[in-house]
Amino acid sequence: MVTTEGIKRSFLISLWFMFLTFPIMVIRVNTIENVIEWRWKNMMIVGIGSFFLSFVWRWLIGRKEAGRKKSESGDSIEVPPGQRIMEDRRFYVPGLIMLSIFVAVFPFVFSAYQVNIMTTALIYVMLGLGLNIVVGLAGLLDLGYVAFYAVGAYSYGLLNYHCGLGFWAVLPIGAGLAAIAGILLGFPVLRLRGDYLAIVTLGFGEIIRLILENYNEFSFGPSGIANIPRPGFFGLEMSLSTATVYLYFILIALTLFTVFVVNRLQNSRIGRAWIALREDEIACQAMGIDKTKTKLTAFALGATWAGMGGVLFAAKTTFINPASFTFLESAMILSIVVLGGMGSIMGVIVGALVLILLPEYLRGLGEYRMLMFGITLVLMMVFRPQGLIARVRRTYKFEETVRQDR
C-alpha cells in the first residue's frame, strides 16, 4: 500500500493543497494595525493533513474499484447488507418495532425545537418521495419542483384568507391544484428530455415564484401571507406546544400514507411504465406504452405530493412568502432524491433526514457547518453514486427457477 510512488504522489498533493489554501489559510490582514499576519502553522496542518488524507482517499477509491470489478464479472452477486437487513424478518421486525416506538415517544422526550426540525424533515420526506416519482422512476429531470410546493402553500394561504377554509379542507384541494399545475407544466414539455427538460422546468419554477412576488393583488407580493392557522382538531383550542406535537403526528401519518401509495405505485403496471420510460423512451413507446399519458401521470402525481407538502408547510410556519420557494429549495429536494438513491423509497427517507437534520445538528461546528455539509455531499457522491440506499430490485419466484437457483 505505502510505496515510494504513493508517497511521491501524496507529497505532490499536499504541496498543491498548501499552495491552494495559502491565500485563505496563511495570510491574514489585520485591518486594525494594518499588518499582515503569516500563519505558517496552518500551512503545516494543511500539508500534513492532506498528505495523510490522500492515502485514505486512494485506499477508498481502490476498494470501490475492486467492488465494481467484482460485481461486473458477475460471478459473486452479493446482496448488500442494507438489503439483507430489509429482507430478513429477524432484523426488520424488531427494527420496525423499535423505530415506531421511537417515533411515537419522540415529541414527548425531546424539546419543541427537535420536534420542529423533525417536522420540517418529514415535509421534505414527502417532497422527496413525490419528486422521486418524477425523477427517480420516470427519469424526468425536474428542477422546478418547488413551483408545485408553492402552489400548495399559496392555495392554503389564499383559500384561508379569502374563503376561510381550514387545513383539512385545503389539503386535498391544494394537492389537486398542484396536480393540475403539474399537468399544465407537463403538456409543453412532453417532447423534451434530459437537459432541455431541466431548463424548462427550472424556468417554470421561477415563473411561479415571480408571479407570486409581483402580482400584489393576488398573492400580496413579497410581504406574503401571515396568520395562517395551524391544523385544527374538531375546533379544539391548542397551545403552541400541543399544536407542534399534533402537526408532527399529522406528518407521521401522511408520510406513512405517502410511502404506502408510492410503494404500491412503483410495483404496479404504471410504475413499470415509468421505469421503462426512464430506461428508453423510444422502445417504451414501441412496446405500446402511451408516452403522453405516462409522463403526465408522473408529473401530476409528483406534483400532488408537493402540493400537500406546501399546505403542510404553510400550516407549520403560519406565514408564507415567495422567498421560501426559490430554486435552492428545488435543488435541495433533488439532492435528497439523488443522495438517498433514485427510485428507492427507503433511500429518499434517509436522504431527507440526513440532508435536513445534518445542517441542524452540525450547528455545533459554527461557521464550518456548511463546509462540512458540502464535504459530506461530495464524498457521498464519489463513494456511493447510487445513493445511500439503492433501489431493491423486485424478484419473482417460479417453481422451476427455485430449483435451479443456488
Binding site: 421505469i275 421503462a276 423510444i282 414501441a286 406504452i289 402511451d290 417460479f398
Partner: protein, 262 residues
C-alpha cells in the same frame, strides 16, 4: 392467401432527401418476408414509417386483421401501432437495461392490460388477478424463447445473443399478428444465428405470427424467407422468392456494382 399488411406508394422525405420512393410491399398471413438491400437503402426508415416512429410523407399503409375492418395506420403513434398488433425490435438493441428480464417482457403486456392509478393503490381483486396473469404470461413467453433461467437478471447484464432474443420476447408479449425484426442476427456468432433461425421459424409455425425482417446475413435470409423484397436508394428494385432474387440482375447490380469498361 390473406393479406395482412399492404403498403402502397410509400414516400418519406427528410427535407430535400427522398429516403423512401413510392415503395410497395405486402405481407400474407403466415409468411416470413425479408427486406434486404445495401446499407443506407432505407430499410430501417421503412420500419420506422410503418411502426409510427416517422409519419410518412405520402402513401398508404393498411392492415387487415381477421374479423376486423381494414385500417389505415399512417400517422398513428408507435404505441397505437403496437396496440393494433405490429410489434418490432431494434437494430441497435433497445432493451430496458435497468429492469429485470421478466420486467422487460411485462412491459410488453402493458397495452393488453388496463390497471390504472386507483387500481395500483387499492389493489382490488381484479388488479391482483391481472398482475398475476401478466407475470405468468411473461414467464411463459420467456420459456418459449428459452430465456427462463435469466428471469431475475438485469437485462443489461445478459449476453449479446440473449439480449437480442429478449427483444423478440418483449415484442411477442404484445400479442402481435406481425413481428418486425430489424437485423435480428446482427453481431451474432454462427451458433447464435442458427438458434435464432430456429426461433424465428418456431414463432411463425407455433404462434402463427407473420414476420417481416431486415437482415444482412444472406444465408439466414435465403433459408428462412418465403418472399424477399430488395431495396436500393429508397426504391424497391426487386421482389420474389429467394431463388428468383439470387439470379435477379438488378439485385446483383445493387450489391456488387456494375461492370464498366475500364
Amino acid at each position: 392467401m390473406e393479406t395482412i399488411l399492404e403498403v402502397k406508394n410509400l414516400c418519406m422525405d427528410f427535407g430535400g432527401l427522398r429516403a423512401l420512393d413510392r415503395l410497395d410491399l405486402d405481407i400474407i398471413k403466415g409468411e416470413i418476408v425479408a427486406l434486404i438491400g445495401p446499407n443506407g437503402a432505407g430499410k430501417t426508415t421503412f420500419f420506422n414509417c410503418i411502426t409510427g416512429i416517422y409519419n410518412p410523407t405520402d402513401g398508404d399503409i393498411h392492415i387487415f386483421r381477421t374479423g376486423k375492418k381494414p385500417e389505415r395506420i399512417n400517422g398513428l403513434k408507435p404505441n397505437q401501432v403496437t396496440e393494433k398488433g405490429m410489434a418490432r425490435t431494434f437494430q441497435n438493441i433497445r432493451l430496458f437495461p435497468g429492469m429485470t428480464v421478466l420486467e422487460n417482457v411485462m412491459i410488453g403486456r402493458h397495452c393488453r392490460t388496463a390497471s390504472g392509478i386507483a387500481g395500483a393503490v387499492f389493489r382490488g381483486k381484479r388488479n391482483v388477478a391481472e398482475e398475476k396473469q401478466v407475470v405468468e404470461y411473461s414467464y411463459t413467453i420467456l420459456k418459449k424463447i428459452g430465456l427462463e433461467r435469466y428471469v431475475n437478471d438485469l437485462a443489461g447484464n445478459l449476453p449479446y445473443g440473449a439480449q437480442r432474443r429478449l427483444e423478440i420476447a418483449r415484442a411477442m408479449a404484445t400479442e402481435p399478428f406481425l413481428l418486425l425484426l430489424d437485423e435480428p442476427a446482427a453481431g451474432m456468432n454462427p451458433h447464435e444465428t442458427k438458434e435464432l433461425d430456429r426461433l424465428i421459424e418456431t414463432i411463425r409455425d407455433r404462434e402463427g405470427i407473420s414476420i417481416l425482417l431486415i437482415e444482412h446475413d444472406m444465408k439466414l435470409v435465403m433459408r428462412l424467407s418465403d418472399r424477399i423484397f430488395v431495396m436500393d436508394y429508397g426504391r424497391r428494385i426487386a421482389r420474389g422468392t429467394p431463388d428468383e432474387i439470387k439470379n435477379n440482375p438488378a439485385v446483383i447490380k445493387a450489391y456488387l456494382g456494375e461492370e464498366t469498361d475500364a
